[in-house]
């Protein structure tokens, strides 16, 4: 090749570098303007938990919205959250912080959705639960070795007691009884806590040595014991007699889970009518109905195993039914 060609090539490459660089920079700046305000929005002044209804995360805006009647319009205006739950006096809003390694802000909000406490934990937002009184809160994050080790995730679950202000950053060290014996292992992982009405008892999932168990825990005694195997993300019914959960029914990675309800008195379980695999912690919308996220929508199904699933909200997640002033 001669010099003229070499110069031509160099000019071509420099032009391309400038064009592609400008394109990249433009896109980054555009994305920066687009993301910044939406991610940190608080609730608008008129939006609070006073009105009963279904509260959920609206996928289009990333903010919490409310639907008062089951076929009524959605009213946006809540804070922007990746995961949300509310009950009694308080709401819990998990918000991923930008950047790497992943960190999550757990925002504790009062009934007017004003922030009263903020805890920053490592990981990606996953589960959020508030006890019926609003005094106990729990959240789970996925923690991951972000870049090089791709598929290994572990969970980290915190419990916050607002009566004492005491925060358990990771409940991994809770003494665990498994098959009647104390269990010690470094691979113990908890997720998906659900509190009972007495603000002491709770249910959760523990995973260890490749198996998952439903555990019943006691906050005051700080202990947990496994009740049965293969029940994940428990959700205690309003009357405290049943637990809705997801059960691994297949080793096929595409569709491993189904929704079940377990009767705590008889320890018998029955499947719900949802035929699809659900990877969410179910939420009781009333004593007979369970809501859950599936494929980016919120659906509901009868808790007794009959009927057919219903589409509640298109483009929503984190359903929580708030029933007016606290008891």
């Amino acid at each position: 090749m001669n010099l003229r060609h070499a110069r031509l090539r160099l000019a071509l490459v420099i032009t391309a570098v400038l064009l592609l660089g400008a394109g990249s920079l433009g896109y980054v700046l555009h994305a920066r303007d687009r993301e910044r305000p939406a991610r940190e929005a608080g609730a608008s002044a008129s939006f609070d938990l006073a009105e009963p209804g279904l509260y959920f995360r609206d996928a289009a805006t990333g903010r919490v919205a409310r639907r008062a009647a089951s076929d009524g319009p959605s009213e946006p205006g809540g804070p922007s959250c990746d995961r949300f739950h509310a009950a009694g006096e308080h709401a819990l809003c998990l918000r991923k912080l930008p950047g790497v390694p992943a960190r999550t802000d757990a925002l504790v909000l009062d009934r007017r959705l004003r922030e009263i406490r903020r805890v920053t934990v490592p990981g990606i937002p996953n589960r959020a639960r508030v006890s019926a009184s609003g005094q106990l809160l729990s959240w789970t994050t996925f923690t991951t070795g972000d870049s090089y080790n791709t598929s290994a995730f572990s969970t980290r679950t915190s419990i916050l007691d607002l009566r004492t202000g005491y925060l358990v950053k990771s409940m991994e060290q809770i003494p665990l009884t498994l098959d009647g014996a104390r269990h010690h292992d470094s691979d113990v992982n908890y997720w998906g806590v659900s509190f009972a009405d007495d603000d002491n008892r709770f249910y959760a999932t523990v995973s260890t040595r490749g198996r998952t168990h439903l555990v019943e825990g006691d906050l005051r005694n700080w202990s947990a014991r496994a009740l049965r195997e293969n029940a994940e993300c428990p959700s205690l019914s309003p009357d405290g007699t049943r637990v809705a959960f997801k059960k691994k029914v297949s080793d096929e990675a595409r569709a491993p889970w189904r929704l079940y309800v377990l009767d705590l008195a008889t320890m018998r379980e029955h499947p719900l009518a949802e035929p699809h695999s659900v990877d969410d912690q179910p939420a009781w919308l009333d004593a007979a109905t369970v809501g859950y996220g599936l494929d980016g929508d919120i659906r509901s199904v009868s808790a007794d195993g009959t009927g057919t699933p219903r589409l509640l909200v298109r483009g929503g997640s984190s359903p929580a039914y708030v029933s007016g002033p606290p008891r």
Partner: protein, 428 residues
């Protein structure tokens, strides 16, 4: 610019070893790989975060998607090699592979939240990666005199690894600047990938047209130059077959880096977060050692270099069998660096001169696929052994198997006498 000004890079010099410069085409291909690896590692680094947080896929589903395509890459490679050999279309096939991978970022960008779209984009990326690898290595091997191939591959792999190290940094810079706009990472990755394709188009020459009868080595000439080269030509050559067997045998006794890192973390009871840093250490070692290892292999023989590289891996097993302490972390990472420097590019440099120019891409593809499948088998076997016997017995078994494979490979690997153009006689 040096890249373009370096005359005719593909013409072997008349006096072997007199020229100390790396062929311009190799530098150009190295630059293409560097830029492309920045592009692809950007996506690799943020994909788990994006799928799980951005799209709400469960980690289990993500693992499934991730694993689904990994095996396919090895097989697509064979296709890329064959396509490239037909009429010497190395540059075009490699370019198509690079372009496909770059376009797959656009697919990720446009797929939005649709899992099927994401899966298709990932498949396109792996397809591109599989297709381009063998023609690219064949181009490197055809771009310089056979006696400096080790250095050429060393330079290329060092540049390639540099890109792989820069990619995650670039991705995290974008995420940080945009408050987690994953689409911005894909957009930037797309632009960088296009630049890689352009560099290839502008600075890399098509493979020099070598008539089948004028193949560079007697080994190749013995295959009688069929008009339609195929994989069978490479396999019919006894010297190539022996290299393939040795590489597969050694590959099957390799347990996979992840297990080594896991053993380190467990031995020292380190936080799992360090899992992300250990591969960086090994990659840095590879980066530093790739060029010197290639040069040494050119001077003292690629066969002993390849064997010594696996010897370094055996030493790493031995270090882990001893009580683990902080120095063992350094030692294992350094030994892994030596292992990759002594085996990755060196194997290509070892096999390339044996293969006829018109069947080179297919032959190299076969070799790479065979090695990759064998390593997959080795890692799976070690995982099973770990589960059934526990970690120490499994590691002992792996070490013994590797030692036995090394002894066997020493017998199987052809002596360099088969290649008269090697300038210096080899010890050993």
């Amino acid at each position: 610019m040096y890249l373009a000004a370096n005359g005719r890079p593909d013409a072997p010099p008349r006096t072997p070893g007199a020229r100390r410069r790396v062929p311009a085409a190799v530098l150009a291909l190295g630059a293409v790989s560097l830029v492309t690896d920045i592009s692809s590692e950007m996506v690799t680094a943020v994909l788990p975060l994006y799928l799980v947080l951005g799209l709400g896929l469960s980690p289990l589903q993500f693992g499934f998607l991730d694993g689904m395509f990994n095996g396919a890459t090895a097989l697509v490679r064979l296709l890329g090699g064959r396509l490239a050999d037909r009429g010497g279309r190395h540059k075009r096939v490699a370019g198509a592979g690079y372009l496909l991978s770059a376009l797959s970022r656009l697919g990720l960008l446009l797929a939005g939240g649709a899992t099927a779209g994401i899966a298709a984009a990932l498949a396109a990326d792996r397809l591109g990666k599989g297709i381009r690898t063998a023609p690219r290595d064949a181009l490197i091997s055809l771009s310089g005199p056979p006696e400096t191939l080790g250095r050429s591959f060393g330079v290329h792999r060092a540049m390639d690894t540099t890109g792989a190290l820069l990619g995650p940094l670039a991705a995290f810079a974008v995420l940080w600047a945009t408050a987690d706009a994953y689409d911005a990472v894909f957009a930037v990755s797309f632009c960088v990938g296009l630049l890689g394709v352009l560099l290839l188009a502008v600075y890399v020459q098509a493979a020099p047209a070598i008539p089948p009868t004028a193949a560079p080595t007697p080994a190749a000439a013995s295959t009688a130059a069929p008009a339609r080269p195929s994989r069978a030509t490479a396999l019919r050559d006894p010297a190539f077959r022996r290299i393939l067997y040795a590489a597969a045998l050694l590959g099957a006794t390799t347990i996979g880096d992840a297990f080594l890192y896991l053993l380190l973390l467990r031995g020292l009871d380190l936080p799992p977060a360090l899992f992300t840093l250990l591969p960086l250490g090994a990659a840095a070692g590879y980066l530093l050692l790739a060029v010197p290892a290639g040069r040494l292999a050119d001077r003292y023989g690629r066969r002993p270099a390849f064997l010594l590289g696996h010897g370094a891996l055996l030493c790493a097993y031995a270090v882990l069998l001893a009580p683990v302490s902080w120095p063992s972390v350094i030692a294992v990472l350094a030994l892994l660096g030596v292992f990759y420097a002594g085996t990755d590019g060196v194997l290509m440099a070892l096999a390339a001169p044996v293969l006829p120019a018109h069947g080179r891409a297919g032959g190299l593809a076969l070799l790479q696929t065979g090695q990759a499948l064998a390593r997959l088998l080795g890692a799976a076997g070690f995982g099973a052994a770990w589960t059934f016997w526990g970690q120490r017995p499994a590691l002992w078994a792996a070490a013994l198997a590797l030692a036995a494979a090394l002894a066997a490979a020493r017998r199987v690997l052809p002596r360099p006498a088969a290649s008269p153009r090697t300038p210096t006689p080899e010890p050993s």
